[in-house]
């Protein structure tokens, strides 16, 4: 079967056919790797942007880069880190791990999955073409109106930003639909919702947030697009409009977005801690409910980003109270994680180090967040380096550390090689030190009045010392990242091969080989409890003894039907790219791109539509075989 030929060891393949296999893949594991590689690439890009900014700010009245360039740098740094680094790194894990964690062979819509990736790729490309065009976005990652109007931003810079984000939004939405259906509808028999691994739960909440929050920014951007291209008045004060409309729409998206950024890391930490403590997550149901509550209430706090705009005391108070309330489920989780370690037998792997780092740093970020929840106090901190410190503690100290924990944890499963544990720990300590040296002083800088988004500052304000310290820390972070890259290169070349279950894990992904075969599970697992694999191996410690695994039924794995590759995802993504980028070129390209998109959509939808003589409907998309009858009998 051609599908499997590419994966059979020993088959000699040309570079061309290898490239083609990646371009047309619909395998969730490969798509996860595509997202992962892209995320790391853009993390580097965003990191370099940060280093340049830190070099400029190391001294007062700096002259390394001018005002315009600096404004472009902080805009692209924020946009890149949020949309092109953290989100896709989360997506890499959703893609690779969710089917494995729920005992499925792929996601619900494999081609839609591939489409999400290629549309993401197009969006990232469109955004970065701005560099080639010499019109780099420069209005900040949240692009407040009416600075983004044609009057005050006359070049194409904002257009690149606006169109790029629209495309990225489409990618995220499609992935959201896919994973909601996958998680709800493709769990192995016996895996009730409450028996689902925590990472899957947090991911489910994230997908609901994506599906419900992205439309708000889509509308915000559409209104901006109409203002810029067609002269509408949505954000035009001269026409009676209120520029705050942008802020409301943006933050109705923006606040759930920060939960989208943190929940995957929380999910990872909720997997890593039990594994390396050798006991279950303390209060798993409570952690699950907290995640759901955070997702739900996260839609009710958006204006805490707007305490200085003059909404009035009633609105200020309402959002303040809502924000304090949401701190409760968030804070409670930290205690659940610490209680998981308590009484355990803690093994200090690199993965665990990063999870511990997550807890330590996210605690600090959460506490500075609590300070922001009080509007009078926030008025001294918002738009200063204090809030810059806060969000880096939660996004870097939180999300990035948590995601790296996942990298070290699941690397052996994904690549069949163990990462070097010593290098992992060097990476951790360098990153921990570098991160804190870079960002802790920013609390001080904020408290002594340094505003954010300034390309330089006067020498007599007392800001010089901590700016210099912060810049030095940034280079330590870079060093830590180089250690990680070295670890990857060295172990890929000559690392120890990884067994199926290197950590004595608790969940289903450790029951299959490392890396998994294309069909993941030879026979569909049947689940009896949360952490079913652990219970199978060790019993549940409350009377249920270990289960002897059933002797492997002979399964003719070569005949497991997996969805074949398809080139329609990349073609459709390409058509979308032509249409959206056409807005910067000519109406003909937009119309042409639109027709091409329509054509590709129809071909995509009908790719597996049967002829009239096939009795069995293989459906709109060719999902993988699931079910005990599936293996070997189709």
């Amino acid at each position: 079967m051609a599908t499997h030929a590419a994966y059979m060891a020993g088959t000699k393949l040309s570079a061309g056919s290898v490239l083609w296999s990646w371009i047309t893949t619909v395998d969730h594991k490969r798509i996860g790797q595509l997202y992962g590689v892209s995320a790391f690439f853009f993390f580097l890009v965003g990191g370099i942007e940060a280093l340049i900014m830190r070099l400029q700010l190391a001294q007062p009245d700096g002259t390394l880069v001018g005002a315009q360039r600096f404004n472009e740098l902080f805009t692209m740094h924020g946009t890149t880190m949020v949309f092109l680094a953290i989100m896709p790194l989360g997506a890499a894990f959703f893609n690779y791990m969710i089917p494995l964690l729920i005992g499925a062979r792929d996601v619900a819509f494999p081609r839609l999955n591939a489409l999400s990736y290629w549309v993401f790729f197009s969006g990232a490309l469109l955004l970065h073409l701005s560099f080639l065009a010499g019109a780099v976005p420069d209005a900040g990652w949240f692009g407040y109106a009416n600075l983004t109007s044609v009057q005050f931003s006359p070049t194409h810079s904002i257009d690149f930003w606006m169109l790029g984000l629209q495309v990225l939004g489409i990618s995220s939405l499609m992935a959201g639909f896919n994973f909601i259906v996958t998680i709800i509808n493709m769990r192995a028999p016996g895996m009730t919702l409450m028996r689902m691994p925590l990472f899957v739960w947090m991911s489910l909440v994230v997908q609901f947030l994506v599906v419900l929050a992205f439309p708000a920014i889509t509308v915000a951007l559409i209104l901006l697009m109409f203002d810029r291209f067609f002269g509408t008045l949505f954000y035009a004060p001269a026409g009676g409009a209120d520029p705050l409309l942008w802020q409301h729409l943006f933050w109705i998206f923006g606040h759930p977005e920060v939960y989208i950024l943190i929940l995957p890391a929380m999910g990872i930490v909720s997997e890593v801690l039990p594994t390396f403590s050798r006991k279950p997550l303390f209060g798993a149901p409570v952690v699950i409910y907290s995640g759901i509550m955070i997702g739900f209430f996260g839609f009710g706090v958006w204006s805490h980003h707007m305490f200085s705009v003059g909404m009035g005391p009633v609105a200020d108070s309402a959002f303040s109270i809502a924000t304090m309330l949401i701190a409760v489920p968030t804070g409670v989780k930290i205690l659940n994680w610490i209680a998981t370690l308590w009484g355990g037998r803690v093994q200090f792997s690199s993965a665990l180090y990063f999870s511990l780092g997550f807890i330590a740093m996210f605690t600090l970020g959460g506490l500075s967040g609590v300070m922001h929840s009080s509007p009078p106090v926030d008025l001294q901190q918002t738009d200063s380096y204090f809030v810059v410190a806060h969000f880096h503690y939660v996004l870097f100290g939180g999300s990035i550390f948590g995601l790296f924990s996942g990298v070290y944890y699941w690397w052996p499963k994904m690549f069949g090689k163990l990462l070097d544990e010593r290098l992992g720990k060097v990476h951790f300590w360098l990153m921990m030190i570098g991160f804190n040296v870079t960002f802790f002083p920013m609390h001080f800088l904020g408290l002594i009045g340094m505003p954010r988004r300034i390309y330089t500052y006067a020498p007599d304000l007392g800001w010089n010392f901590w700016n210099m310290v912060s810049t030095m820390g940034a280079f330590v972070i870079m060093l830590s990242f180089l250690v990680f890259i070295w670890n990857v290169i060295a172990t890929t070349r000559s690392g120890a091969p990884a067994p199926a279950d290197p950590w004595d894990g608790r969940t289903l992904e450790w029951t299959i080989p490392s890396p998994p075969p294309v069909y993941n599970f030879a026979t569909e697992p049947v689940v009896h409890a949360r952490d079913d694999f652990w219970v199978q191996k060790h019993g549940d410690g409350h009377g249920t003894p270990p289960r002897k695994g059933a002797p492997a039924a002979h399964v003719d794995t070569a005949s497991i039907h997996m969805p074949p590759p398809s080139y329609w995802p990349i073609l459709l993504a390409g058509a979308l790219f032509v249409m959206f980028s056409g807005a910067l070129v000519s109406i003909y390209q937009v119309v042409g791109g639109g027709l091409l998109t329509l054509y590709c959509m129809i071909r995509f939808m009908l790719e597996y539509h049967h002829g009239h003589d096939v009795g069995h409907d293989v459906g709109h998309d060719v999902g993988p075989d699931v079910g005990p009858a599936a293996g070997g009998h189709r």
């Binding site: 315009q68 600075l147 279950p280 304090m324 205690l335 610490i338 093994q347 500075s368 929840s373 509007p375």
Partner: protein
């Protein structure tokens, strides 16, 4: 057993962190000109009280949580040969209790917060001094409508009197922030925001725009000078006088140059020109700084500015009018004579 270097790092870091934090305690850093923790107004003091309350609690919680984390790591680190630990799934009473404790701590923050929100946003008394602030790319206009005074970038106020600010935004969103006075408030096009402040100590306090507003956002600074009541009245009287007629020949040359060139299209000097696109220059010579608290107000800086404003302030809307050499020196002399 020799401990590896790697395993000594946690202890070293802990000590370093403690040292760093302690060092910040007595530091004079907190007295910086734009500090937020040495309030000099009523608004600032109300804010500061709540800030200190939250700070102490969060410091305590932070230390407790981090210490707890470190303790469980040390206490329960794996010892070789140890059995699988007890598979504890949770403890409902404990979880409910700590949830309630969290909620109560937040209540402690909420209780002073809500009244402070309402108090600081109360309508000002009728006896308040009214100041109309206009934030524009990239400078600040200050008008005292009841005193008939218009100036820019340096805000003079009397100590001990409530000031009612009306905030206007003719172009994009900016934010009016004097850290030592507190009460940051955005200026938003299409609406008039209000903030009421009562500075209670004389002194000079730098302020800065705190909402990204374009190329020279970093250069949109200002200065607040709080006088005694008597000094403030002297300042007002000086501002209300008509502009000084220049006696120095260079300054006279500058005045002629000014009234004959495009300067008049953007700037107002009472009796000479009425432009409103740029700062009012009637008493420009009385200001200590120029370019929106960017540079000291000296003949050299002023001449350089006139010759090439965009060099000192990227993106600035003031064009280069081609003044060079003698011309820019003359204009500088004239403007600095307008005390």
């Amino acid at each position: 057993m020799r401990k590896s270097l790697l395993s000594r790092i946690p202890t070293a870091l802990l000590l370093l962190t403690v040292a760093l934090l302690l060092s910040s305690c007595g530091s004079s850093m907190w007295d910086s000109p734009m500090t937020t923790v040495r309030p000099k107004s009523e608004f600032g003091r109300i804010t500061h009280e709540i800030f200190m309350l939250i700070s102490w609690w969060t410091l305590g919680i932070g230390i407790a949580v981090e210490a707890g984390l470190l303790w469980v790591c040390f206490r329960y680190r794996e010892k070789p040969g140890a059995p699988i630990p007890k598979q504890v799934h949770g403890h409902t009473l404990l979880e409910v209790s700590w949830t309630i404790v969290f909620a109560l701590i937040l209540l402690i923050f909420a209780i002073p917060t809500i009244p402070a929100i309402f108090k600081t946003q109360e309508a000002p008394a009728a006896t308040a001094l009214r100041v109309d602030v206009s934030g524009r790319q990239w400078w600040w206009e200050f008008k005292y409508p009841d005193l008939k005074v218009v100036t820019a970038n340096e805000l003079h106020l009397p100590a001990g009197q409530t000031v009612a600010f009306n905030l206007h935004a003719p172009d994009v969103i900016h934010s009016f922030w004097t850290p030592q006075l507190g009460g940051k408030r955005d200026v938003v096009p299409g609406r008039v925001n209000r903030v009421t402040l009562m500075p209670d100590e004389t002194g000079e306090y730098p302020g800065q725009c705190a909402e990204y507003c374009g190329t020279s956002h970093a250069n949109m600074r200002f200065r607040v000078i709080v006088h005694t009541k008597a000094d403030f009245e002297k300042w007002v009287a000086a501002q209300q006088r008509p502009p000084v007629q220049p006696t120095d020949p260079l300054a006279q040359k500058g005045q002629d140059l000014f009234s004959q060139s495009a300067c008049v299209g953007c700037h107002t000097i009472a009796g000479i020109s009425g432009g409103v696109l740029g700062p009012n220059l009637t008493h420009f010579g009385s200001r200590k700084t120029m370019g929106a608290n960017l540079l000291a107000n000296t003949p050299e800086n002023l001449a350089k500015w006139i010759e090439n404003p965009g060099h000192m302030k990227p993106g600035v809307l003031m064009p280069d009018l081609g003044m060079r050499g003698e011309q820019s020196k003359a204009l500088a002399a004239y403007l600095l004579s307008l005390k």
